[in-house]
């Protein structure tokens, strides 16, 4: 289950995403929350602007979900936020559910690394005195 959204990532939505992948055979759900850091290379960040090629990003996220299923037999949900985010807000939520913890941890780590590699989403850091595409 994957989604690119401009809505805030709330506890309610996180639980919905987990419920969508968790089954009675599972004993572990590992989650990752990416949040907006207030300092980047020593500069104070005011906010981030995330932009996505949403249709393609969702396709690429689906591929990652499938890769995790093939490699570890685990189920994955990914939610990526776009638009303007303040410091401390959540930009990314990943949940991986599997019968045992090892596969869930490995799958979750794999998901975040793959997202940073191939999913067409970009962030621009806005500082008090400028901005920069990352």
């Amino acid at each position: 289950m994957v989604r690119v959204t401009d809505k805030p990532i709330t506890p309610q939505i996180m639980w919905e995403m987990i419920s969508a992948i968790q089954t009675d055979r599972d004993g572990a759900v590992v989650t990752f929350l990416g949040v907006v850091r207030g300092i980047s290379n020593g500069r104070k960040v005011v906010r981030l602007e995330y932009e996505a090629y949403a249709e393609m990003a969702e396709r690429e996220l689906e591929k990652i979900v499938e890769e995790i299923r093939e490699r570890w037999g685990a189920k994955t949900a990914i939610l990526h936020r776009v638009g303007n985010l303040k410091v401390g807000e959540a930009s990314l939520f990943i949940a991986v559910s599997s019968p045992h913890r090892s596969e869930a941890f490995q799958g979750c780590r794999y998901a975040i690394e793959r997202i940073k590699e191939s999913v067409p989403i970009w962030k621009k850091e806005i500082y008090e005195d400028g901005e920069k595409w990352m």
């Binding site: 990416g34 995330y50 932009e51 996505a52 090629y53 249709e55 393609m56 990003a57 396709r59 990526h80 930009s91 990314l92 975040i112 997202i115 940073k116 590699e117 191939s118 999913v119 067409p120 989403i121 970009w122 962030k123 621009k124 595409w133 990352m134």
Partner: protein, 80 residues
């Protein structure tokens, strides 16, 4: 033939719009399209490791384009 081009992130900032259409001769490749756009917006060629997609799939610069294709200019991604 007519191709829809979508520049993203830094590429969109340079082009100043999120979508444009270009005309190319039959048999033109992704690289041909990029060369044409870069001629109009020279700063595009300063983006390192630019990637391309055609109809939502990553594509090789040597791939042949077809009428109506959607070509995206994909600077290095930075999601997460």
């Amino acid at each position: 033939m007519r191709i829809k081009v979508k520049p993203f992130a830094m590429a969109r900032s340079i082009v100043g719009q999120s979508e444009l259409e270009i005309d190319l001769p039959e048999g033109a490749t992704v690289k041909d399209a990029f060369d044409l756009i870069s001629a109009r917006f020279p700063k595009l060629s300063q983006i390192k490791s630019m990637q391309f997609s055609v109809n939502l799939e990553y594509s090789n610069p040597a791939a042949t384009l077809h009428d109506g294709d959607e070509l995206a200019l994909i600077p290095p991604v930075s999601g997460g």
